[in-house]
Symmetry: C2
Subunit: 450 residues, 2 copies
């Protein structure tokens, strides 16, 4: 445990005079939290965790200053983007300084296929700029309007676009990261190649990401489409077939079984009760072959927004990924969720078994994504929460049957997806954050190192 005394905080802040500092308790409290309340397990663990002050640097020189001050006075520093994470990634467990990166948004350069940008750029704003040259970011969470690229790389794993480009951790999806260290004399390091994985998805525990180089995807003319199906497994098989179709250009293949669409106020008129819906983003050039898939699986297209209306009216993507959970919880706050990758099972049999087994308790919202070169259904199941014990039983049941759970009910990096220590991340932390000041308490390997 670090000790964050009022004196130490005061010393840090006095070192940082002239920077944009927030100490108002209400604002600091707001900027200490994220969407961890999706988890009834994390809720009691994190609700009373707050930083002592927020600093908002406008450039890397200021980031260096902040790092220097925190190291000098041994005050914890927790980096924050837009706070759209769900696992308390950016909630400071031991108080200290919150470094809010959202004022650093400059695009350093862009070219066909890649962009270099500061960590605080919002994904939608970045997309707007790169689309001017015909390109867009490869993948984004459903919170793309507010989420930052630094936060996404630091705490996310994939999203809209993953049905084509896989996960953030797949080689090629992150080209370079620039980080400020927390050594006695903080340094600026550029990590490239596989070295980027030393800090990617490390929740800011081993470096302050200030700048990133990410690949871009061609900005196809995306059409947004809803297809209804009479039964869940037809919708799921349609999703798998479409995701497996190498000739079909797609950005989103989301399946929402009944009754989930009934939580979507704005979409209800397109998805009657009892229907199971696919929410899709497909290149307009592929609409005719899409119609053949729809026919093959007995679906019915009930909504179609042409690409030229993108940005107007309903954004279908904002009903998918964890926005599905958000909409459900806005109607029924007792609902929580899980994150599951189903095995590479040719006929979706395990999914079918689980769907029937759990009935109304676990609603198998599916997001298709590519994983290791193959499209597979991931589920962000909506779970009607009763007790933590029952939730853990459900998790164990999934795991025993061969489904892989990325547990969203823990703030420890390793206990979420990896289930094992990432030695490279630990060693990098030992090197660049010798006092363990960066986002303390989140890396199990650090806590348990001998």
């Amino acid at each position: 445990m670090t000790t964050t005394t009022p004196n130490a905080i005061a010393s840090v802040l006095s070192d940082l005079v002239g920077l944009d500092i927030i100490t108002d308790a209400t604002q600091v409290a707001k900027l200490s939290h994220d969407y961890y309340h999706f988890s009834p397990v994390l809720q009691p663990q994190l609700q009373d965790k707050f930083g002592d002050a927020v600093v908002r640097p406008v450039n890397e020189a200021e980031v260096l200053k902040i790092a220097q001050a925190c190291v000098r006075h041994k005050v914890p520093l927790t980096v924050r983007g837009a706070g759209t994470g769900n696992y308390g990634q950016c909630i400071p467990l031991e108080g200290g300084v919150i470094l809010d990166i959202t004022k650093m948004t400059a695009v350093k350069w862009m070219k066909p296929g890649a962009v270099r940008v500061e960590a605080g750029a919002k994904l939608a704003a970045l997309d707007k700029q790169t689309r001017e040259i015909g390109w867009e970011i490869r993948m984004a969470p459903s919170t793309y309007r507010t989420a930052t690229i630094g936060g996404f790389i630091g705490g996310g794993s994939g999203g809209i676009g993953s049905v084509t480009y896989g996960q953030l951790r797949d080689r090629g999806n992150l080209l370079a990261v620039r980080v400020v260290t927390m050594e006695d004399e903080p340094r600026i390091l550029e990590l490239r190649g596989d070295d980027v994985y030393k800090v990617a998805h490390a929740y800011g525990t081993n470096g302050i990401i200030t700048e990133l180089e990410i690949p871009l995807a061609p900005a196809y003319p995306w059409s947004e489409i809803i297809v209804n199906f009479p039964d869940f497994m037809s919708a799921a098989r349609f999703g798998q077939a479409l995701s497996d179709a190498d000739g079909m250009i797609k950005k989103l293949v989301c399946i929402c079984p009944d009754p989930i669409p009934q939580y979507f106020a704005a979409l209800k008129s397109y998805i009657p009760a009892g229907k199971h819906a696919a929410l899709l983003m497909i290149s307009e050039t592929c609409l005719e072959p899409l119609a053949e898939f729809v026919k093959e699986f007995s679906g019915e297209i009930t909504y179609q927004k042409p690409a030229q209306e993108a940005g107007k009216g309903i954004a279908l993507a904002e009903y998918t990924w964890n926005h599905t959970t958000l909409h459900a919880r806005s109607v029924d706050p007792t609902i929580t969720y899980l994150q599951t990758l189903f095995p590479d099972d040719k006929n979706l049999s395990l999914l079918e078994e689980m769907y029937h087994h759990y009935g109304d308790e676990v609603m198998f919202h599916l997001e298709f994504l590519r994983y290791g070169g193959k499209a597979r259904p991931a589920s962000l199941q909506l779970v009607r929460y009763t007790t933590e014990e029952r939730l853990n039983d459900i998790i164990r049941d999934h795991e025993s049957k061969g489904a892989f759970i990325f547990n969203p009910h823990t703030y420890l990096i390793e206990d979420g997806g990896m289930k094992m220590v990432d030695l490279a991340q630990l060693q990098f932390k030992e090197q660049v954050d010798p006092y363990g000041l960066l986002n303390p308490g989140k890396m199990r390997a650090w806590l348990e190192r001998s």
Copy 2:
């Protein structure tokens, strides 16, 4: 059998006065053949098959006229592109008229993601036009400089680009086809959606393709790269890993085991004897992550041509797919080849077994391609030919072990890849070519219909 009498031919030609007609025997002979001589089995079967005259229409109206004349006089009509096929697809078995489509090359329109073009456009020339708006054709055979789009759709199945976009027959890779029929009153039909498969890969047996609508891919800045490996299986596993990497943008992943590279005069200095080479086309934005794959599999990059030099010097693609066979045969004309899809085998074990089993007799040149959503190694094995019996033994051995052979030693559509009758193609032929005049003798289903 149709009967092509000199009188009938004369009548057809007299109906076509004013069109570009070739009757010079040498030229007609040349325009009757393709690269069937890659197959020592097809060689004796096809070497004496020639058309009686070649007609080269400049527009669809002329195609209609030719169709009309051939139907009126019951003369066979065989459509020809550049004649770069390898199975005698365009060799007229019963003489008659050869319709050479190469003068019809107009681009009707193009837009981001799609182009509409006449069937005789050469692939490279088409690419040159679409690249002006930042797009290119999704896949092409290694003969892209001379091959026509109509010939590729009529007789090809995939190629350079298939590692990303799969096969031509995959939904989304062919949007529309316009065909002229051979009924008493020839008609013009537009086929869209799944209807395109009525005529795709039908060798021109059931309609004269005059125009096509095909999807386009983003024109990434392709870098051409040679990587050497100390052993074949490292090269093969590298190829599989790179092909499975969803974050890596690639157009070509070709593996040429030793001694195949020694047949490539222009590449020898980059691939010493004893080395197994990967020939790659990778987006320049992915070169740093590529280096990590190379390191992981103990490879060494010995050649790298930047994208800005595309079109100058060596074109690596022209050493891959069936150009590999071409180069080998130019040194040793006794070499022939097979076409094999290996099963979705996680550790390439069958490939390894076959590689060791056959030694020098079968050289497992690999082309990775996406098949049903998953990258798999296809092999265009070079085979040291001895007898047809031995070749058939090799084929049967592959099939018995679970490898799928697309036999290039037959001119029958069904006996190549499909192994079964395509009822939709047969029914379409019954409808639009009731006299069986289009490329007679190539569709087994038609020959054997009751």
